[in-house]
């Protein structure tokens, strides 16, 4: 398993850099930089700027996010912050407040 998983019940305060997929189910405060896919799962609380290959949000994110490929805000997901990505989808039932820059 070449993944990093921040499981439920775990809190990380600091900076994560990863050259692989990252799944967040717990709490992250700080910064997350990942080359591949990042998934913020239901129940996760992220207070961090996120820079990823691609980003899927179905938990709660407060911070600016950018993705080389795409950002998907899924149903139940909540994002407060600016999005910078060439492709962005926002599903029915998601919440979002922030600026969008798709001109990357």
């Amino acid at each position: 398993m070449a993944n990093t998983v921040i499981a439920q019940g775990i809190t990380i305060e600091g900076e994560i850099t990863a050259d692989e997929d990252v799944v967040v189910q717990g709490t992250l405060r700080g910064k997350l930089v990942a080359k591949d896919a990042v998934s913020i799962e239901p129940g996760a609380v992220v207070e961090a700027d996120v820079d990823a290959g691609s980003l899927a949000v179905s938990g709660q994110v407060t911070g600016n996010v950018s993705a080389a490929d795409r950002v998907d805000l899924l149903a139940g997901g909540r994002l407060i912050g600016d999005v910078r990505a060439a492709r962005l989808t926002i599903a029915d039932g998601a919440s979002f407040k922030g600026n969008v820059d798709m001109d990357v």
Binding site: A7, G9, A18
Partner: protein, 123 residues
């Protein structure tokens, strides 16, 4: 909860710091943790921690139990046991209810196991 540390990780409930992941900061909370990458900062968990071969922690570790196949550079405080495998390397002060060191492991520092001293040794 501690079962995962013996090698049967199925990606269930434990947190994993993957091979090419580096965390600079503090990890806390409740749950097991498998470290294949690098952590600099601090670990304070209620749960079992495994530092896999190639993995490293450069920080103090507080946890329920710890298995070291990689490298730990920092003080270790556990409510249960520490196992240092043949490939493991630990430098720091070790405080634990039990400590086991396999042949081939490298340890530098002090070991303070928690047990009752015989009467005649107590001043």
């Amino acid at each position: 909860m501690a079962s995962g540390v013996n090698g049967t990780f199925d990606g269930g409930d434990e947190a994993v710091v993957g091979q090419s992941t580096r965390i600079r900061g503090r990890i806390s909370g409740e749950g097991d943790l498998r470290v294949e990458g690098a952590i600099e900062g601090g670990v304070a968990l209620q749960g079992a921690v495994l530092v896999a071969e190639g993995g490293s922690i450069e920080a103090d570790v507080e946890a329920t139990s710890l298995v070291v196949e990689g490298t730990v550079d920092g003080d270790v405080t556990l409510s249960e046991a520490l196992a240092i495998r043949a490939s493991g390397r630990v430098s720091g002060v070790i405080r634990a209810a039990g400590v086991s060191i396999e042949e081939g492991a490298s340890v530098s520092g002090r070991v303070e196991m928690d047990f009752d001293m015989p009467e005649e040794l107590n001043g």
